[in-house]
Each structure stands twice: as C-alpha cells, then as structure tokens.
Amino acid sequence: MAVTSKDTPLTSTPFVLPGDKLPPNSDSANNRTGVYVRDGGTYSSICGKVTDSKSTVKPLVPPFMCPEKGNIVLCRVLSVSQISAKVEIISVGSQVLKEPLMGIIRREEVRASEKDKVSLFQSFRPCDIVQARVLGLGEGQAYVLTTAESELGVILARKLCHGGRMIPVSWCEYQCSVTGKREKRKVAKVINNISSN
C-alpha cells in the first residue's frame, strides 16, 4: 500500500540535492559546510557537484556561514558611545554577507593592555573599517566582537569629504594626507603582503 519509492542509492550522478545521501567520510570535523549527519547516514544539505573524493560537495551557491566564535570579521563602525561601539558586519572570513549583520564592541574588549583606561572616542569613529574577532553570540540582537589583538582594530580610517587619505602613523594615530590633522584610533597592524587566510 505504501508507495515503494526507490530507496535513493549512493548518488551515481555527480549532481546532489539537499537530502541526497553521501558516502560516509572519515573527517567529519568540518561537518559544517554543506553536510549533515542524520541517524547514521551523512547527507548533503546544499545543492552542488560532488567532488572527486566523494566526501565534500562543491556548492552551487556558497552556503551561508553564520559568524562563529573565533571568526575574523570585517565591519564598519556605525555609532560610538561611551560604553560600546555599534558596528555593521560586512563579511565573515572570506564570505561577503549579502545583508550586513549587527555587532557590538564593548569598552573592555578594545585593547588587551590597561583595559579600563580605554576611551572609545579615541579608538573608533563612525564609517571606519574595523577588523575584529567574534567573541560569542551575545544575548541581544548583536554579536559580541573584540579587537584586543594587535592585528585587529581600524584598518581603513574613514574617507574625509575632501578626499584626503588617512595614513596610519603610529599604533594609536592616523594622519590625514591633505590637512595633516592627526586623529587618534586603535590602529591594526596591517601586514600588507599576507593574503587572506
């Protein structure tokens, strides 16, 4: 009486839909990208072509990676107050988010050394581009970020309306190429030749 729909064999055809069975692979470590385990069998959770090693799927569309603890994110500062800076996360790792997510950098997580004497007004300005690391999900709407490491912090200070470029002068200052005005920032040590990890 029940419909005897054919039991789905191991997918001979290279193309895979979500739910198709994949051969069980040993390294279930990165079981986050496009593969999930359900009562024993591993199944694909995205559409795409199965790679030759038959264990991972080359996705048709890159899957959405939610910011996880420890990811490095690139974000743009929206507003700065005394206790925290509200930022808009633009990309997680190398994946550009189609729609920016909200993040927050608290005062204690700006600098590793002498945490409590930090003034956020001297660390960030709106429209700066900041590189930060995700600390956790946080309970409110925003993800909790930190810039406590030396290579995290402001990468590109904001563009001034008269087109001058801001050049990092020291670990805590940017200087405008046109007017020479110095502005204090939490500068990230950018090593130019290392490509993205």
Binding site: L78, S79, P126, C127, R158, C161
Partner: protein, 222 residues
Amino acid sequence: MNIIRHVVTMEVKSRGIECELGIITRADGSAQVKQGNTIVTCGVYGPVEAKSAREKVDKAVVEVIVKSETGLPGPYEKELELLMSSCCETMILTHLHPHTAISVSIQIQSDNGSVIVCMVHALCCSLLDACLPLKTTFSAIKCAFLSDGSMLTDPTTQQEETATSQLTYIIDRKGKLVASHATGSFDTEEYIKGLSVASSTAVHRTDFYRETISRKMSRIKQ
C-alpha cells in the same frame, strides 16, 4: 510686525509675496508665506535625535511632512514631500550634522494656485530662520502656458485649469535649475522660455530674503 510687500515689476507679474518669520514658537525655524490667497506655513525642527531605524551614519536625514487643507495625506501630498525633501537634501549641508534628523512640516492653509511656489518660499524662509547651514538660498516660480501660446506667471487656480501646461521651476540664487515639476503638454522652447523668466527673478527673490532677514535682525539693536 510690519510685513513688506515685495512686488516684482518687469513683465513677471506675480501676486507679491508676504512672509512672516517665527510664526511657530516651539519650532527652531518657522515661516508663513502668503502669495495672493495661497497661504503656506512651514516649521523646521533643527538637528534633532534621529530614530535609529532611519538614522544615517555620515549625514543628517531630512523628513518632510506635507499636509493639505482637508483630509488625510494621499499620493498627491506624498509627491510634494518627495520634491521638498530632495530640495532640502541638496541645499542643506547635511554632513555637518551626522546621526541627526531635520524634520520639516509644511501645512497648506489655503490653495489658490501655484501652491508649490509658495511651499518652496516658506521652506527657504524657515530654513533661514532656523539658521541651518545652506549652500545657497533658493526660490521658485510657476509659468502656465495657455492654448494661444501666451504665458502666465504665478497663475491662480482658475488660470491653471485653462492652461495647457504648468511648469514649476525651483532655482538657486544664480538662476540655475535646482528642481522642476512640469506637467501638461509643452515643448522644449516653452520650457526654456519659462526657465529664462525664472532665472531672471532669482535676484529679486534673493533681495526679498535679504529684506526678511534684515527685518528679523533689525529688531535687535547691536
């Protein structure tokens, strides 16, 4: 509070503008402009706290609300709001006040033709009264072309009904076109002719603004 009637001679026959500043005490800047019996009142609430949903990071957000004489605002008022907010957006130096909002509310008290012109003058006067940083002052003029080709400036409602086209120009003090709202069927020559008439009145309107401001300032003895 004596009101200076400012009648422009030349062939630009206009019903003359009367302007009164500081009409609304709670607003940061307000003005009531009468042209014939078209009366418009405009209140400007200077850089105020912006709602976080609409807040812009690098510049001030301009919110305009237009209310006509009767009834709830519909598509007609919404389009006028778009015209007024685009004027404000370009004229006000919004990047000097980031994270804030400038809210403008315009009430059309009585409409007897060329209401957009009256709204633009009320808007400019109230922005001057609120001393918001402006690139330049701006003014407006409306030309209506009749079927026999003759041109009327600053038409009343009856003249507007018979006109084949109604061209409204919003010009800055140098006579260049800031915004325009032209309907009806017309051709390029008519439009350009109207524009040249409009830019010729630019200087008079600037003097009118200078008079209004000097009247406001003259009450204060230095």
